[in-house]
């Protein structure tokens, strides 16, 4: 096990047609840490996550997983690692989407097993065993043969968490995992994430659920206007005397 941080982002910048969405984001996540990112819409939370998961290319700064550099800039021009290296780096992380993005034409089981088999991590039989273990842990064993469209939103999101976990990532990202769910379904998904936190799964969670972020996180990051406005332990942030922070947290808690 390397002693390098699982995720290291330095001075990440990103613009969309002249609009600077990320101005200077630096974030280090160590093994076993749970980091929540909160902040108003448009603050750049999701963009930061998309850059970190290589769904967007960043315009400046550097990105590394377990010390393996995915992207870096040498004085202004971005360099991304070659295809082979990026493929290796992609195995370090998993991502749970706001809109689940399950493959609708695959059964729940195949959704979870196929990526594992294609990546060469395990053969079909082993992948099935791994998937069934995960599905029963998430209370979905009886849904293995169902298709995603027949599941509730909460169940679909739990399947997508199982799908991400089956790849055995070093770090798991969540992009507003409960924003598409009603309060009841939100609860069942948050419980799964809390259980993962209790097992010291390394996670970065973009969320609007303040109470949840406070309970589950080792560290909370408050983003605004493309920069990290403040960060600290949940207690530090929730008891801060910063007016802007209090205004944001207060608004969501009421």
């Amino acid at each position: 096990m390397s002693d390098k941080p699982v995720l290291e982002i330095k001075n990440m910048r990103k613009s969309f047609t002249g609009n600077e969405v990320l101005k200077d984001i630096s974030l280090t996540v160590n093994k076993g840490e749970v980091v929540s990112i909160i902040g108003p819409s448009g603050s750049g939370k999701s963009t930061a996550l998309r850059c970190a998961t290589l769904l967007e290319t960043m315009d400046g700064g550097s990105l590394a997983y377990e010390g393996n550099v995915a992207a870096s800039d040498d004085g202004g021009t971005m360099h991304y690692a070659d295809k082979q290296e990026l493929k290796k780096i992609r195995r370090c992380f998993g991502l749970v989407f706001q809109s689940f993005n399950l493959f609708p034409h695959y059964s729940v089981l195949r959704n979870v097993t196929e990526p594992v088999v294609l990546s060469g991590q395990a053969d079909k039989k082993e992948a099935c065993e791994r998937a069934m273990k995960l599905l029963s842990r998430l209370g979905l064993a009886d849904k293995a043969d169902s298709y995603p469209s027949s599941l509730s939103g909460g169940q679909q999101q739990r399947v997508s968490i199982a799908r991400a976990l089956a790849m055995q990532p070093d770090i798991l990202f969540f992009d507003e995992p409960t924003s598409a769910l009603d309060p009841e379904l939100t609860g069942e998904v948050l419980k799964v994430i809390k259980d993962l936190a209790a097992e010291h799964m390394t996670m970065v969670i973009v969320t609007h659920e303040m109470k949840f972020a406070r309970e589950v996180s080792d560290r909370i990051i408050f983003m605004e206007n493309g920069v990290i406005h403040s960060q600290g332990t949940p207690d530090e942030l929730f008891n801060s005397d910063n007016d802007r922070l209090n205004a944001f947290i207060g608004k969501l808690e009421s």
Binding site: R90, S99, L102, F103, P104, H105
Partner: protein, 214 residues
């Protein structure tokens, strides 16, 4: 002419019609996929050329295209294609239908959400795996009704091969009708096309139901 003689002649013509139909589908369905890739290409030259090709194919009569494919090599290059009538017909039909299928594929492909591509990317699928395992199976289900439409039109369009005097069903029906001075053979040909399409619609319906498993 005896009814049985007429029916057997028409049935022979029908075999040719079925042949044109099946070969056209065989070539135009894969070709259409390639054309749709060209149409969606990020390369502006490629997409412009393909767009022009689709415009010509859809904007001019198929009958004229049949004539051009068969006679143009002679008028332009002095190459005589006599004896290559049937291949010329298959080429003209395939190239024409590929243009229509390409636009159907494009509609289907563009209906797949970006999230599907992103999920596949994060899970380590490469581009080929993403297309053939994730995107294309979903596209098939979306486009089946439109493909059924085109396929049924193709059955009737095979009759256009008469313009090159190919002995398919409609050509034969016209010949008998002229000889007998009766529209009867044409009506019978109409019934043949109807039955043919009835079968096509039945098969496509089965395919559609099979694809509707999720």
């Amino acid at each position: 002419m005896q009814l049985s003689v007429m029916l057997s002649q028409l049935a022979q013509g029908m075999l040719v019609s079925v042949e044109i139909f099946l070969l056209t589908l065989l070539f135009s369905l894969p070709l259409g996929l390639l054309v749709s890739f060209g149409r969606m290409s990020k390369n502006k030259v490629v997409s412009a050329v393909v767009k022009f090709y689709i415009a010509i194919m859809r904007g001019t009569p198929l009958m004229l295209q049949l004539i051009v494919v068969y006679f143009a090599p002679f008028y332009i290059f002095g190459v005589n294609l006599k004896g290559f009538r049937f291949p010329a017909i298959i080429i003209a039909f395939s190239v024409n239908y590929a243009a229509y299928f390409a636009e159907i594929y494009r509609g289907g492909i563009e209906a797949i959400s970006k999230g599907q591509y992103e999920a596949a990317q994060v899970l380590g699928y490469n581009k080929v795996q993403t297309f053939f395992r994730i995107v294309f199976p979903q596209v098939l289900r979306i486009i089946t009704p439109s493909v059924t439409n085109e396929t049924i039109t193709l059955v009737k369009d095979t009759s256009l091969a008469f313009v090159l005097a190919q002995a398919e069903m409609f050509t034969i029906a016209k010949q008998i009708a002229a000889k007998e001075a009766s529209v009867g053979p044409l009506m019978v040909a109409g019934a043949f096309y109807f039955v043919f399409n009835f079968v096509v619609a039945f098969v496509m319906d089965r395919i559609e139901k099979k694809l509707n498993y999720y």
